[in-house]
Amino acid sequence: MDFSDTKEEAVFREEVQAWIKGNAPEYLYEPLSTSGFGSTRTGDYDPLAEAKKWQKKKADAGWACIQWPSEYGGRGATPIQSVIWNQEEGVYGSLSRTFIIGQGMCAPTMMAYASEEQKQRYLPKLASGEEVWCQLFSEPHGGSDLAGLRTRAEKDGDDWVINGQKIWTSGAHYSDFGILITRTDPDVPKHKGLTMFFLDMRSEGVDIVPIKQANGDSGFNEVYFDNVRIPDVQRLGEVGEGWKVSLTTLMNERLAIGGSIATGFPEIKALVDELRVASGSAIEDSAVRSKLADWYAKSAGLQNTASRAISALSKGETPGPENSIGKLVAGGMMQDIAKFALDLQGLPGAIMDPEIASGSARLQAMLMRSPAVRIEGGTDQILRNIISERVLGLPEDMRADKGLPFNKIPTGN
């Protein structure tokens, strides 16, 4: 066991540090460091333009998507090197949030199912940020029941014709391409009638409507399909095999490794280091210390768990569903932390204006954002199902839709 760098790792880290020191957009350091939760602050600069600029710069120097093969725009780096890169990129890494879905989920799917020609065409531009991708999976009627999707794809000559609606599509409004899962056969059980495609987001009949979220942000969209045509060559995997293909995508969702998941611990630590409460300095208050210690232990536990997953990865093992714990722990913790922190401040804790109260505004943003963390990308309940069934091997719940053709499943309507 060794939590320090090996000699080779140290050399690599120095190389990364040197490049970042010489190239990172230092003028963004301040706003990026004080970004609210679920948003990337870039001060007076346009976030998308800055994200693309940084990504292109990295790509040109061989620092984009470093674990990808070099022919697709990466540098064939090891998982450990990738961790070192992430550690050193630090706050600038949050600029890449724009590309996470495309690079983290669409790309692995393309690598597994697209033709060689398609890979050569699309992956390098995805790595360099010149083209942005999104993922069109969720639907209004689906919720946690992802496979309950209703968007239809019907074959028409060499094309497929798409009709239906997706929701919670992150970045659809600035995406160039998307991967799309559809129902091609409603007469078979729900997992069996699905087919995956990728499409040009500017295709005729695609309509994108932003969703305003409860906290006032809007990064998500509804996407409507009205007789949108997709050529059959853009099918990923076989007809009816869409669920299997989607698992490749979703498995990779969990590979966002490296301890980068936000928990709110640094924010509350910073607050209580400064804040005074009735008993004196907040950090000396025993109720504060007790809570803080529990959160630190959880936060450290997530980081150390991520480290272990990296070890497994570097030995060629596939990180398993046990990595679902990250979001489950972080989401609840963020909510608890924000609630507790604001509570220490009385009414001024409810201020959301960062000009007046930068600390509490950031924590209020966290409080308003945290309910989404417990829902998006798998609710707390779904994650507990995954852990209990796939890690602990407990039997699955009774299923009302088991074996039923999709169009016979009860919908309540």
Binding site: A214, P348, R374, G412
Partner: protein, 368 residues
């Protein structure tokens, strides 16, 4: 012994309920939330016509004198409907401060105006980013003038008059200040319908509350009374949030069955119910203690406050979770309760403060 509200009290509640149902749906809240108006003038007037602002005000001062038990039930309806009006600051804080610590003349001047809704009041306390304490209040009272600035005043954008906590030589006092001409800046808060503002007093004309000998103690007393009423707003909100969750869970299907048939969600809602029920019962007791000036009033108030705060936070939060992604849209109403619950949690001082007050009010020999 009789641990329930009377039929008369429930009838008044029912009238308010029906009025708000018909006249104060969420579009009112949203109109204020989105900045179209600072509060709902129409609902405020409607309530005034029914005399709701004067529920617990003595008939001597133009009130209905229906007692605090009735006012508690009115508060519950205000909380349930998220009425975007300055009711809590006018009625629970300003009017109570007056009724408890005002001189006869002050009561005669102000209480009828509050009872009729002609005047909207508030109380101005916090000055720094920390919870208000006796040692972080700098606003001064001298020669019938106050000077200084209050950072966050609930309904400060809307109120006509405020009770101001200020320093008078060594001690703290409470003074009445009319807000015309006082500089106000809106402050962005988690619940914008609370029309919160900064108030800057610059030798503003002020009149000390006639019967107030120690401003900090008087404030604590007023806060205890307001805590009970706000606790009723909180359980009103919690009950509605739970109801929203239950209704949605019955209708929404996933995996071929209503999501409310999954134990994970059922048990979450059962826990919401438990928190609500405990809080509700503590509120009942506190209402009685308020009405009867019971010797254990401070304990009863803190107990109701702590459990109602917890219940509303839990119910408004997990209502979102039951709704899933839709619960986190601006369009769905879940966040309205979440916003309000977070504001009310902090409004009279945070949970830790009230927990501390509760223990301070417990007799040393055991009182469970």
């Amino acid at each position: 012994m009789n641990f329930d509200f009377s039929d008369d009290e429930k009838m008044v509640q029912d009238q308010i309920h029906r009025y708000l149902n018909d006249n104060c749906d969420f579009s009112r809240f949203r109109s204020v939330l989105e900045g179209n108006e600072p509060y709902s003038e129409q609902v405020w007037q409607g309530l005034a016509e029914m005399g709701v602002q004067g529920t617990a005000i003595s008939s001597e001062y133009g009130g209905v004198e229906a007692g605090y038990l009735t006012l508690c039930l009115a508060a519950k309806e205000m909380g349930a409907h998220l009425a975007p009006v300055p009711f809590s600051t006018s009625v629970y804080l300003f009017a109570e401060a007056l009724a408890r610590y005002g001189s006869q003349a002050q009561k005669e001047k102000w209480l009828p105006l509050i009872a009729s809704g002609q005047v909207k009041g508030t109380i101005a306390v916090s000055e720094t980013l920390e919870e208000a304490r006796a040692d972080n209040i700098a606003t001064s009272f001298k020669d019938d003038q106050v000077s200084g600035s209050k950072l966050v005043v609930p309904q400060g954008m809307v109120a006509d008059v405020a009770i101001v906590l200020a320093r008078k030589s060594d001690a703290l006092t409470l003074a009445i200040v009319e807000l015309e001409g006082v500089s106000r800046t809106p402050v962005e808060m988690v619940d914008p319908t609370m029309a919160t503002s900064t108030l800057v007093f610059d030798n503003s004309a002020a009149e000390e509350l006639g019967e107030c000998s120690d401003g900090w103690d008087a404030l604590a007393d007023v806060h205890n009374r307001a805590a009970v009423l706000i606790a009723f707003e909180q359980i009103g909100g919690a009950e509605k949030a739970l109801e929203m969750a239950v209704d949605y869970a019955k209708e929404r299907f996933a995996f071929g069955r209503p999501i409310g048939s999954f134990q994970a969600l059922k048990h979450m809602m059962a826990d919401m119910y438990v928190a609500l029920k405990l809080a509700e019962s503590n509120c009942y007791y506190a209402a009685w203690a308020l009405q009867n000036d019971s010797v254990d009033f401070a304990l009863a108030a803190a107990t109701a406050r702590v459990s109602a705060t917890q219940a509303f936070q839990l119910c408004s939060r997990d209502n979102i979770q039951v709704h899933g992604g839709m619960g986190f849209t601006w369009e769905f109403d879940c966040h309205l309760y979440y916003r309000r619950s977070n504001y009310l949690t902090l409004m009279l001082g945070g949970l830790a403060t009230w927990e501390d007050k509760l223990i301070g009010a417990l007799p040393a020999a055991d009182a469970a």
